[in-house]
Amino acid sequence: MEVQEFKGTANYIVSEDLRNSVNVSITLGRPLLIKGEPGTGKTMLARSIAEGLGLKLIIWNIKSTTKAQDGLYVYDTVQRLYDSQFGDHDVSDISQYIKMGKLGEAFLSDNPVVLLIDEIDKADLEFPNDLLWELDMMSFYIPETGVTVTAKHRPIVIITSNAEKELPDAFLRRCIFHYINFPEPEMMVNIINVHHPHLEDKLIHEAMEAFYWIRTLNGLQKKPSTSELLDWVQALTVGGVSLDKIRREIPLLGVLLKKNQDFDVILSRLRTQSTNKTKTRSHSLWG
């Protein structure tokens, strides 16, 4: 089965650059590392690739406790012990206690798959390096059973990072890299339309104005992202909020913001704007 080029899918807005990067990664058979703010569609990209190419998607969600080994296989010694004491199983065949991890599953799949290693930066600093060999060679060895697992088809590997940690150089050198910019308004309109096809243009316009204004403010703990905007326009519609209030009052702010301090930042900015007071500070020469 020959893997095609990725063209995009109807439910995902892909920029020209990003599409190119995906295809470079597929053609060269290298993992594609996708970096970008939360909510810029990194996880969804993997879904779109799988859907667009008609391949199965295998997702490996990384947490702070995830070890590289978990992705290869786990030897369930506890089950084996249990069976040996309380079961009627024959426990001499160790292979029945070897459970494939996500990478192992992707290697053993009969058809090519898309393997998403999501949020790799959550794991330990050493984690990416621990996977280098397996990703390079597309195989690993199970000493307990003496079996070597080799990929039947090279999976399309998509790795995402929210840039919580820096990733090791040796790992980076082997990846194709793409940085997803925060969407420009023009692209954002398209994204909104995909998710909520029947919204009033005026509502989208007002909501976007408010949204991008909020994102320009300094001092926010967490800037609202695409997902929050999508939820917000939906909430505004459902709540029947009148259009001229959207920018002036930013109703249903709780849908956009997650942190209490951020509420204060925005409410105080709205207040100063409405009273149109400009504060002037006096400076002395030396402070």
Binding site: K7, N20, S21, L28, L81, E164, H283, S284, W286
Partner: protein
């Protein structure tokens, strides 16, 4: 000479390695960049550059190198030329040279030659989906009947022009900052307790299970030493009026430090220009939140890493004179410099982060830099930028 692009990248600060360079050759040999120079621009960036903070340097290098080059065929010709002749003169380390064994150079050359031969007039020798700007197939930024959506802009502009726009200037780590970037940098400030000392007081679950299983099911507990971050940090911030222009920057740092949960302990104090007998728990620096500097020093052992944030810009008398403090209700019996020295001697590791750009620290050109330089004699001072913070953190980690 094509190899000059490699050196140009290095020169502008893109940490490109030979592995990546050879991957680019492979990409060319697979016809990935044939349809346009924009195509080459994107493929080369995706392969060579691994951080958006280096995109701007890439753009600069690209402009410098490709100014006179019109078509991608030239690029491939040059690449081939390089592969044929120039590998020996490329200065590489022995380890890097070893890596060449991973590539079948002859095959690469043959494939590139093949590509060149098959060029038609429109340079569509290879895959033509790269860099065609989407105009040929789907139109741009729109919706096409096959149900494929494309966002963003068309790339059918000259790649050099794209590079010249320097759209990624704002991502340079030496210029911009954000709370997140600060946070990432601060994460490097850690000091793990060692595996070799301390109590074995943490149950090693995997070890226990292994040992128990080996023991034919009789429970055997395995204990290990826990590894925790031992780093303790004290942050002192100038909250005086001359810091106002830097308030955003400082509050970003403050937020980032505050959010860093990985320190064993974290203390904040504030001061106004310089500190004397008192420090303050609140940025307003009113007497209600005052705390004796001596008490602070007594309570914090020398292992605490001290980070001072301030512009170090004040009247010289504030540092050198008894009674020189800027606030009228503060009467200092010792000059500011004495206090600064006392503090820097107490802590083994101390740095000063200054939001004033370092180009203004030159006392011969800026009179205001006089006090900056007095302070710099006592504290290692770094610019409050991401790069500066990283240097400061390195300094804080040095063992004495």
């Amino acid at each position: 000479m094509f190899v000059n692009f490699f050196y140009e990248l290095k020169r502008t600060g893109v940490p490109v390695s030979l592995t990546e360079w050879m991957t680019l050759m492979e990409a060319l040999s697979k016809g990935l960049a044939f349809s346009s120079l924009s195509g080459f621009y994107h493929v080369a960036r995706a392969v060579l550059v691994k951080s958006e903070t280096h995109f701007d340097s890439y753009d600069i290098a690209f402009q410098n190198y490709f100014k006179g080059i019109e078509t991608p065929v030239d690029v491939v010709e040059q690449a081939l030329e390089w592969l044929k002749n120039e590998i020996p003169p490329l200065m590489i380390s022995p380890e890097e040279r070893k890596m060449f064994q991973d590539w079948d150079l002859d095959k690469l050359r043959r494939e590139l030659e093949e590509r060149l031969k098959n060029q038609d007039g429109e340079h569509h020798g290879g895959s033509n989906w790269i860099g065609t700007g989407g105009t040929s197939r789907f139109g741009h930024g729109g919706y096409n009947p096959a149900g494929v959506r494309i966002g963003g802009q068309s790339l059918n502009r000259s790649a050099v022009k794209v590079a010249a726009e320097r759209r990624y200037r704002g991502y340079r780590s030496d210029e911009t900052l954000g709370v997140r970037q600060f946070e990432v940098a601060l994460r490097k400030l850690r000091q793990l307790t060692s595996r070799d000392e301390g109590l074995k007081d943490e149950l090693d679950l995997d070890g226990t299970i292994d040992a128990t299983c080996k023991n034919a099911g009789r429970l055997e507990l395995v204990w290990d030493r826990s590894r925790k971050n031992n780093m303790k940090v004290v942050l002192m911030m100038d909250s005086g009026g001359s810091m106002d222009p830097y308030i955003d920057l400082c509050s970003q740092l403050f937020t980032a430090v505050n959010r860093s949960t990985h320190f064993k302990d974290l203390k904040f104090y504030f001061f106004h220009n310089c500190f004397y007998d008192d420090l303050y728990l609140h940025p307003s620096c009113t007497s209600r939140s005052a705390i004796k500097t001596y008490d602070v020093l007594h309570n914090l052992n020398p292992e605490y890493r001290l980070i001072i944030v301030g512009d170090a810009s004040m009247a010289p008398s504030e540092l050198t004179m008894v009674g020189g403090a800027i606030d009228w209700d503060v009467m200092n019996n010792e000059p500011g410099l004495v206090w600064l020295e006392r503090v820097v001697k107490h802590f083994k590791h101390a740095v000063w982060l200054n939001p004033v750009p370092s180009q203004w620290w030159d006392v011969h050109r800026y009179y205001g830099a006089y006090t900056i330089n007095l302070v710099r004699k006592l504290f290692p001072m770094f610019e409050l930028t991401l790069d500066g913070l990283e240097l400061a953190i390195k300094r804080l980690k040095v063992k004495f």
